[in-house]
Symmetry: D2
Subunit: 415 residues, 4 copies
């Protein structure tokens, strides 16, 4: 009798193939699940392999649109960034994948969900927090956190031995000396030789961006239009693109060609360990820059200040920590969306050898920018004497501060 039905996140690789077979050997019936979130994959081969190993079924779902429209667009609206540099490419995909896996589990009457993440990374945490929120009654099997599984498979050799014994086909391609996770947003590279933070990533590491040194000598010009903070239209030469997925992929292509969006960082994982990661995030890097630029034209400065401190910072951290399905993410996202009401307009941009430059911006959605008002040459509707009063009032506290320093024998004039 089956110990129960398991929905396993299955990639076709050595790890999850081992888990699949092990689960079957343990007495479970397994439904495999693979999300298409834009990664390169030989979908048919994965399915064939799963069924060959003994999966009851292999479910592959295309989640690209869901990922772009429900996660990437909010990330752009939010100017999301973690620790000043990471654009959250992996973090954005996890909620979409986990939610779909729970749906598949429910549809196929599974009692368990399972995955191949280890206990030290962010992704196991992200997946499981999402599983538990999406369906608190599903049980989780995380083999890499089970003592018996870890004891049995202590290294790659034991996985290979098991594969040989069990007749699991193993790719003959030599693995890269780092691990990769790719989706429509970015590709990440970590572990292996990258664990020394002083090792420069080799030239052949990057999948989604051309080396800036090999990018075209001619800049690429394009215009990105936003509607309430969401990318709504992209014009590249004669091309006009409005479909969300197509638009984002075209941005990715611009970024790829011109080598835009590589970062190499050390970051603080949720569990408190530092780790080194390299990421190339072509389209999102571009879209985020354009969005920030448009906001500067149309968003009230004080709203922006509050939004930066509250929404951008918090939403990014929540996503990084796997807290997408949480009341606080809902709370913060509601506020962020409110700030986007007037973020409608266009930004002209240029990509060139690793960088993207704003060339100009315009919007009819806001009355906040006024060339005349900003002008130093015009006093239309502005009395310069007002500034005198403004300064006087602002300095009431500061004069006391200066007086106190003089009294204390440490005048501010001393440097």
């Amino acid at each position: 009798m089956s110990k129960g039905r398991v929905c396993l996140a299955y990639s076709g690789g050595l790890d999850t193939s081992t888990i699949l077979k092990w689960l079957i050997n343990e007495g479970y019936t397994v439904v495999c699940f693979l999300a298409n979130v834009g990664q390169k994959e030989e979908w048919d081969a994965v399915e064939k392999k799963a069924l060959a190993i003994g999966a009851e079924r292999m479910v592959i779902l295309d989640l690209e649109r869901e990922l772009v429209e429900q996660l990437v667009w909010p990330a752009i609206q939010c100017n999301a960034i973690y620790e000043d540099r990471y654009l959250l490419g992996t973090s954005l995909a996890r909620p979409v994948i986990a939610r779909a896996q729970v749906r598949v589990a429910i549809e196929h009457n599974c009692d368990f969900v399972s995955h191949g993440c280890t206990g030290k990374g962010n992704d196991g945490v992200r997946f499981e927090l999402a599983f538990k929120a999406c369906n608190p009654s599903l049980k989780i099997i995380a083999p890499w956190r089970l003592p018996e599984f870890c004891a049995r498979f202590q290294g790659r050799q034991q996985l290979l031995d098991f594969a040989a014994t069990e007749g699991i086909p193993v790719s003959s391609t030599k693995a890269k000396p780092w691990s990769i996770d790719e989706n429509i947003v970015h590709s990440s590279y970590e572990a292996g030789i990258l664990e020394d933070p002083n090792t420069t990533p080799p030239k052949d590491l990057w999948n989604l961006t051309r080396d800036p040194q090999e990018a075209p000598d001619k800049p690429q010009h394009f215009t990105l239009f936003f509607d309430k903070g969401v990318p709504a239209k992209l014009i590249v030469g004669e091309e006009v693109i409005t479909d969300s997925v197509a638009l984002f992929k075209r941005l990715n292509l611009i970024g790829f060609e011109n080598g835009v969006g590589r970062i190499d960082i050390v970051e603080n994982r949720f569990i408190g360990v530092k780790s080194r990661g390299c990421y190339d995030t072509p389209g999102l890097t571009i879209a985020r820059q354009a969005h920030i630029d448009l906001e500067s034209l149309v968003m009230d400065g004080k709203v922006r200040e509050l939004r930066d401190q509250f929404c951008t910072f918090t939403w990014s951290r929540l996503l990084y920590n796997g807290m997408y399905f949480s009341p606080e993410r809902e709370f913060v996202e509601n506020a962020m969306l409110f700030s986007q009401k007037n973020v409608t307009g266009e930004v002209r941009m240029m990509a060139y050898k690793g960088n993207v430059y704003v060339q100009g911006r315009k919007s009819d959605a806001s009355n906040l920018y006024s060339a005349e008002e900003a002008s130093m040459d015009s006093l239309e509707g502005f009395s310069p004497m007002d500034t005198t009063g403004f300064i006087e009032i602002q300095s009431i506290r500061l004069k006391k501060y200066g007086d106190q320093k003089i009294k204390d024998g440490k005048p501010l004039t001393e440097s």
Copy 2:
């Protein structure tokens, strides 16, 4: 009899020359002051002109070192940035200049300080808040905020007429159709044709950075060392530079050659008006990137989180708003400095056609990064079962959230 003694910030240009003569005509005795904060200037000619117009004295002070060590270094330690993009080049120089002007005013027994800023920009506010804090008893004459002065000089032609009448020499160089403010940190460009935020800055605008398209085809490699967050040594090929000003200038040169540090933004001025500014900030852009990178290796993640929200954001805003001489800047800077205790180490970098890339980093000052600990392949000192408990505890709230959503008929599995 003199109406009093005025210390005037004098640049040699048409505006401040007019103010100088006007003050003299009004009956004041004027001591002119010009700060050398790294801008290109014909110092002797300025002095000669001031004295020719009738200044009692022209005082020129070299403040480069003060600016670099007292303002730029803290800005780097703080990762200072305003509204996501502006590195505060002008804002950093203002406190140094204003403080020196107050010193000069005191030394030369002046009752007044004066400057040529208008009422609509940030700089008048920044200067005067600094004047008032540094010496609350000094009085200020801001001609461009005096109704009688504004009424008399309503446009450039009236300034030129006055100059002709009063025998003030006027430069025959045709002015650029934008205004420039330069110091060792950056050059800023605003007003004139830039007031339309959709006008791309012309090629010949930028003074401190070469056009990335004309930058060398060969990347420039170098290593920047920090001691408690302060740039302490720069190695470029055979060159080893440790002097603060020389080091910062060498970074500027790297940035200049490789076109690093150009931005074109709309920003929110302190007085609540939006304005468009372009800035090239070569060395600080590089140093800031390196500093952020080193911090990621050596700073505790939670300290960083608090420092980002509290110090970086607040210090930057205070500087932008001219609040350098304020109790709150002292308060925030004290906290920021405390965070820098272990920010000692080195960052290998590469500049190339508009960008600067981190190539690797190392430090002996902190035990926080451990390759083995981060490694997915090692379980040394780490029990993967702990993560299970961590996730379970973290999900207590989330499971209730999911349950409530199910109860409300809006399960989180719906997308």
Copy 3:
């Protein structure tokens, strides 16, 4: 010919009567406006006096409901408080009054609005920011900021002389040696003998609260019900009150009887000056305590944490500074309202001699509190081993911190 039509905020007192007459003498036609925001007032006498002095019309509007429902309810939902103690009684009334005055001005074709606030307090700022936002084209006459007016009326005696000359009736009641501002939310007391922050307010100062020492010896019990954070029902003995204004007045009465809600503070005015104020705020003090208590039962802890830092703090400060009519208030209030979805339930309370005590609370709106889950005696659905993992993961950083301290020769075991 009239210089124009002015809508003057008129209270019937010496100051605004002087202003009324002065405006008429200056050639303006004046429509007087008085808001009923719950203060004690002889409305007919005020109207008679205004017309006698020469106002074209006296408009008195009852704004109590608007104040309670549109400002006080959000303040309660927000747990609003300024500088830890001030419940913003005056700040809440100002937007309602200013908005109504602008409406009256528009309705009666006025070109100007006018008020009797001085230049040093918060209220002039609050009124005018509201006027300018509500109708940017209205002009403002603030006599106490006009040099000619200030020069003419340098003290109370000159106001009395003017009144005598102009035939303005002056109340024979001796003024209190402090100034009072009262509305349905609170009464404020400042200036005069209160300017010395070490002077204890005299027994007869307080209008809206009985001296706790003279309050009943028997506690008053009652139950306050909330619906989405808004007070929806009050049960006091046999009484059941659901009308907003009636409910709030009944809370005021409970507070009055039992001496609840007195504070005596020094605060930081928006313009940067410190001032001393005393306030009694009976009903709002009670409602705020009850609301905080209910939230603790039904609001997710992380949402609460973000809401406290973001909404409570910011909304309160914005209101204090007169920024009710601002995009940032809208932004923050939207977020705050989102947090109130489940704040539905009841709180049993007891008022007694200066204090209000929570006696118990319950709610059906949330699944977050579970007696069994909280219980130390039950392990239902909880594995204590999870906490071990939680602690282990949380301590990863802390162990490194401890190790570093040992290495630095300053072990944490030293006290």
Copy 4:
């Protein structure tokens, strides 16, 4: 042979007596440790009992002074409070106790520390995070998180059976139907009948405060002096107290007599569970109110604003979560201490039937409060016209906001 040496936190109660015997039975040698943090205890009886059960040694340390000076004083300086109401009485004692236990463990060559906390509360987390930071190499035995221990002792009856079998004396006093934790700061009450948040705590629950209804009819007056934010002197009638512990105990007595400092709340535990707790915190409630009041007189408003958002909020949360020994607590506390430089002065107070009232305050340490400057009657050194300019500049954004609303057909004049 011994399995090792354990330092056990031993209270003499049934739980820790069981743990002591169980550890001995398991083969450990046990050194018992009890901290005197101000609780009522029969110290000799505890020692006798520990030795009778088989402890190698019983170490009792007086930590009152350490607790008051190193934790309570910073909490007062910080105005520390958790979730608006809880003054952190338990959280403040935990670091002091844990640190001392680690010291005792080291001194007595223990390999393990052990405690009797369960897995669902805050205290186990707080103790262990402190143990791990203070000495990362010590191992921890938490019996209530060990499956075998939990399985064996599933309820009170099994503990009693074990005690009978093993000859452990059990107090014949009937336990209260709630649990108590007391120290010099407060007494806490939770669990048992209190788990229903709608049950009013019975009259006989409170240990450290008299029922306000039974407090004296005559108010108690006293004056508290601060030096850099630390309570430095207390004058009560003729008494003058300057010793830290004596001063704090005298405040506790005032609070006890007058029934000051009772709260009854639901709170969010670190592990994400809500729980209900009642606390009486007499002296700290008083000292915190006085400190807040003095700060309002002497601290710059902007420093206060930043300190409130940054230090008060964060320090409190860190303490609550057991993160005293963390780099972020050090970081935040450093900032907080910087803010206290001028918090020197005195506050006159009155305690009466459950409340404490500020009667006046004064300080020579700051020039920030000026009665004349605050005065509405004086224009000395203040030009009311400045406020006009201040308002104009502040309203630049707001007028655009109002214009936009009019353009959008939703004028702000609508209510």
